[in-house]
């Protein structure tokens, strides 16, 4: 896609959080990196739960110099937010919306749909378990998986199928926190001596810091610390030795450096 740099802006839209200080971090990092690369005349973020809000975003771009605004949801998949909340709050009529000022807003697919996602999952799995044979390893891609997040479950399944087709890992499974196949059943679901677990989320938070580790049996239930270093501690104890097997636990895929570096429309 060719972008007229002088007249175009990028708006990255994310969920944000009123309780998790790390929720907006990958989105802010994306924006800073793309701003540094000078791909767009302007780069801004907007959040559902933080500031600036999606409604504030309507005022962020001066229609005189900025003729086009590319709206990219920093979400792992299509779903309620990309299909209902974002279009409603940003007053989008579809893929292309022309404002009364003549400014055009182009609504893009969520970043999780990008074709590089498969490659990044492989990269992250390789980094977290560098010295193990992939053939002796099962890769688990963990998504939320409730009715509300049905599309993220589908996206995780799609990525698992893509990686399975490469025949690199002993096995590749999509598992979920709240519906079968459950991540908590990993010992029954996997047969290999090594297991690599990658959370299929945009940012680290309650799910990756606490919920999934508890479901995996590598952490006990206790409140997550406010200290960033302590919050990330769970990722620094690989491998976890359980029943004679090695379990490697990675941070959420959206926090990967490569994910940020691959930022593109």
């Amino acid at each position: 896609m060719t972008i007229d740099r002088a007249n175009s802006a990028l708006l990255i839209v994310a969920h944000g959080s009123t309780v998790n200080p790390d929720s907006s971090a990958p989105t802010l990092a994306h924006a800073a990196e793309i701003w540094r690369r000078k791909v767009f005349a302007e780069v801004a973020c907007a959040f559902w739960k933080e500031e600036p809000s999606l409604r504030d975003a309507l005022c962020l771009f001066d229609p005189k110099p900025i003729r086009e605004v590319y709206v990219v949801p920093n979400f792992i998949s299509e779903g309620y937010f990309t299909q209902t909340v974002i279009p409603r709050e940003l007053e989008l009529n579809g893929r292309i919306t022309k404002r009364s000022s003549g400014q055009i807003w182009k609504y893009c697919e969520p970043v999780g749909n990008h074709s590089m996602m498969t490659e990044l999952l492989l990269k992250r799995a390789c980094e977290v378990a560098q010295d193990v044979s992939p053939a002796q390893t099962t890769l688990l891609i963990v998504a939320h998986g409730t009715d509300l997040n049905e599309n993220s479950a589908v996206a995780a399944k799609r990525e698992a199928e893509n990686i399975r087709a490469l025949a690199k890992y002993g096995d590749v499974l999509n598992v979920y926190m709240e519906e079968p196949p459950l991540v908590s059943d990993w010992k029954k679901l996997t047969k290999t001596p090594n297991v690599v677990v990658v959370p299929f989320f945009i940012s680290d938070g309650l799910h990756s810091y606490e919920d999934i580790p508890v479901l995996l049996g590598i952490a006990s239930e206790r409140p997550v610390s406010n200290c960033r270093a302590e919050r990330g501690e769970i990722f620094r104890h690989n491998p976890h030795r359980i029943n004679g097997r090695s379990l490697f636990y990675a941070p959420s895929i959206g926090t990967d450096e490569g994910y940020r570096a691959s930022s593109q429309i």
């Binding site: 973020c45 739960k49 933080e50 504030d56």
Partner: protein, 224 residues
Amino acid sequence: MPNLIEQALEAALVDRFYIGQILVRKTNGGGFVISHRDDQGRGDLKLFQSAEDAIDLTKFDDSGNYRPLKTAPNLQHGWRLQLAILDDLRRSLDYFYPGRLAIFVSWKSSQLQITPLRETLDRQSGMYRIAAKISDKQVNRVVGDFCRSDGGCLRTVLWKRDSRGTVASTRLPPEKFDPAFDQTLTPGSPPPATTPRLIPLLCQEPCNLLVAECRNVVKDETER
């Protein structure tokens, strides 16, 4: 809208200005220094020099608690951010008070669209749809508590409760709706002898946090 924002910042920056809890000063060398307003005169401030340092400076309050609302009056103390160029200043202020400069510029140019609370509540869906059931009496109480400048939020409220133009809350002082009033001051108290220019933090539409609070009130009521 960097150009318009930078023009507004330059106009405000004759010498120094306030925005929220922040003091912005121009240095002799043409750069800028940002600090907490309460920290003027302190010599023990920790120095930062990148606009992006503001991301972490705004994240937690003095006690280490996460700040989901950046316009809450709980900005941490003890730092000094030194920046070289106007673009850095604009970016850092956008981390301290996200989107507020753009809103201010829209308001100055009479382009700002202001949305009443009822309209915001009526268009909610999913778990927030129930928030529209809040009564006017409950709105008066919730807004009066949640949006108050002393402990709630430092924005100047421009929106009304409904399309009839009903005041957002009678519990808030008239100064809460006045963009010329410095929301860090106590209404009715004598103003300081000299004070820098002020860029107000304007609120053109109720935020999602207030919508969530309205939802909580309705839920509590129905579950009682």
